[in-house]
Symmetry: C2
Subunit: 407 residues, 2 copies
């Protein structure tokens, strides 16, 4: 029994270490910034200067929303409970003004340049730059006859693209609503994920094209949407215009530009599209309207929306002009239908995607359903999605998919 006090002491000292933490500056901090800090139990300590403010709150978009505590030096601090791994958007609310934390790198999300903090995932390095051959990311500009404007896109080229003479399959990969074409590289680390998957032989070398998900047809003037939130008739009308214009831009401007300017394999068997959230919705619209162009389809936390827009009851017999009506024919035509969701996503999102998955199962429509354990409607879910999705693309003889659960 002499061991009990010793154990208690050990436990107490462990608790003390836990309480004190081993906080280190986050990798997402700007040059030389000492805060935010993250400890080994994934707690995040925020520190924000606002000497004359009466009230400062921290607002993790998927995490705590809480009052910060004023310190004597004019800084306000807050330490979160342990967070899920991944990149977490957050803002600070200073006397009612919602702003970014200047100590963190800003990423385009929520239709603004928002701060975010990276919480490492223990034992995981698939999205880190490793000592493997690295691809390049190129920013290209194309003039779109659809929008009548110059638009840009980011293009990931696999290692050895420049020295090889090969042609490559292409994945079109879209960001979410409120984000932009920089998201999959800056937040998602898609280039490092692919570098690592290709180096280990898990994924085929491929080109990834990341376009801007907002488009309006030439001549269309976007009305002032101030005070017109998501879901309002005014907003939805603009969204519909943008969805249609985006579909046209991808199929009539972007794909032709990419096929002309890069060594792509241009048939449908070598073209995939996926997207997250709004990008998943766009993916379903674009691919099912153009099955002559695409044979791999991925919806990351977002495919379900397409079924929620004006068609609450999804029927595999009639959906998409009957593309799935004959499951055997569909499995032959669409090599991969992939749907993913994080287990901690908002209930409505999760329910929508699970219901879609179940409906597809019941109708024997071949597809892959992936659940990311413990992650929310955030980038760690989508990094994992890409890690699961990309290896399933462009594999010889790949004409379908199993149902996979968990990581």
């Amino acid at each position: 029994m002499r061991s009990i006090p010793a154990l208690m002491l050990l436990a107490a000292s462990l608790c003390f270490a836990e309480a004190q933490g081993d906080f280190k500056p986050a990798t997402s901090n700007v040059l030389d910034a000492q805060y935010p800090q993250v400890d080994s139990s994934s707690r995040v300590k925020i520190r924000f200067k606002a000497p004359d403010a009466a009230k400062v709150r921290v607002n993790f978009w998927s995490g705590p929303k809480a009052d910060m505590e004023k310190q004597a030096d004019g800084f306000w601090t807050f330490t979160t409970p342990p967070l899920a791994p991944g990149l977490h958007y957050y803002t600070v609310i200073v006397d009612g003004a919602e702003v970014s934390d200047p100590a963190s790198t800003a990423y385009f999300g929520g239709s603004k340049w928002a701060s975010a903090v990276e919480v490492p995932e223990s034992g995981v390095d698939y999205y880190q730059p490793k000592d493997v051959p690295h691809g390049q990311v190129r920013q290209v500009w194309y003039h779109s006859s659809v929008t009548g404007t110059w638009r840009d896109a980011f293009v990931y080229l696999p290692p050895y693209y420049d020295t090889s003479k090969s042609r490559y399959p292409v994945l079109y990969l879209q960001h979410g609503g409120g984000e932009d074409e920089t998201g999959w590289i800056r937040q998602g680390k898609a280039n490092f994920i692919l570098d690592n998957l290709i180096a280990s032989g898990s994924a085929k070398p491929m080109i990834i094209v990341m376009g801007n998900g907002y488009a309006t047809r030439a001549g269309y003037v976007v009305p002032d949407l101030t005070g017109k939130p998501f879901g309002s008739p005014e907003f939805m009308k603009v969204m519909q215009e943008r969805m249609g214009a985006f579909e046209d831009d991808v199929t009539k401007a972007l794909i032709p530009y990419i096929d002309k300017n890069f060594r792509t394999i241009t048939d449908r068997d070598h073209r995939a599209m996926a997207g997250l959230s709004m990008g998943g919705m766009q993916t379903f619209q674009v691919t099912f309207n153009h099955l002559d162009l695409f044979s791999y389809i991925g919806g990351f936390s977002g495919a379900a929306n397409v079924f929620m827009m004006g068609n609450n009851k999804f029927d595999t017999k009639t959906a998409f002009n009957g593309a799935m009506a004959d499951p055997a024919a569909f499995a032959k035509r669409v090599h991969l239908l992939w749907i993913g969701v994080g287990t901690n996503e908002p209930e409505r999102m999760k329910a929508g995607l699970e219901s879609l998955h179940n409906t597809l199962d019941e109708s024997k429509v071949q597809h892959t359903f992936y659940e990311s354990p413990g992650t929310d409607h955030e980038w760690q879910t989508w990094r994992r999605d890409l890690k699961d999705f990309a290896p399933r693309l462009f594999q010889t003889g790949s004409h379908g998919a199993e149902t996979a659960h968990g990581k």
Copy 2:
């Protein structure tokens, strides 16, 4: 005399129009944001939501610093007097918290993601995307044996690089202090400037490499610089380490990587370096220590600093180990020594560069001195610098430079 009242009426109505302005959302706004707005007289109207704040100030880094006016709807507004053209960094100070305006695109400057607003320059489109062939901008990753880390750089490839078999000369182009390797593309529009110069035949097709200006040698741990401002011994010690490590990284890691991975012409006659502010200082250090590698040198609002660091009196006979001691030999060896400054830059900066220019003149050291009319220590100066500098590079038989004043 009957025309006088009519003229007065006309003048009055013009004045009224002027006062009201013809404000339109700035091109630098994030998607759908209606503010900031810019009118045709280059005034900028800022609007910022802070319903519970007691005091909100706007802080144009090169422009007005003023109290904003609270409106009944919880927004604060401020209209600037006419500003110089170009991209203006600004922050908003909410009850003592200096933050970015979420309505504007954020750019990395001042060691944080700061908001900035673009004020068009009337009649000028040399930095706009035009209907000309466009180059690509590539983000590449290289492992630096100097820093022991993976580092990234942006590389501009001229139009037709992919389809041509040519080799190209290279300009290494550096950002300023507090900025990063994204600056020359995002703020500077270097790619569009070169696209346009190349299309008009004014500049030779060239590769531009934009590296990250901060480096530390493997094993070096940057101390906490909180409360150690620029100029403090602690800061300057870190800066010196970074300057040296950067010089090594460029010459021992970046240049070899670029020459290995791109179709460059690798001799000194086809390699240039330039930089703005801190980048100008770095350019002078790197190029003069490695005249075996470089033959074109550009200091944009920054070359003078190198002379201010520990050597207040610049002597062309002894500076840089006597590289300029024989002006004729120097003119033969260095094809271009280019120095630029905006006429509205801070007096000390202007005086330093003018003094350098005069000293070089007196010593008959061939160089180009360019003054950007009416612009400050900001990006419009550096866009103009690049527009003047780039056409002077890599021209056959170019072995020196005239003195040019004005735009």
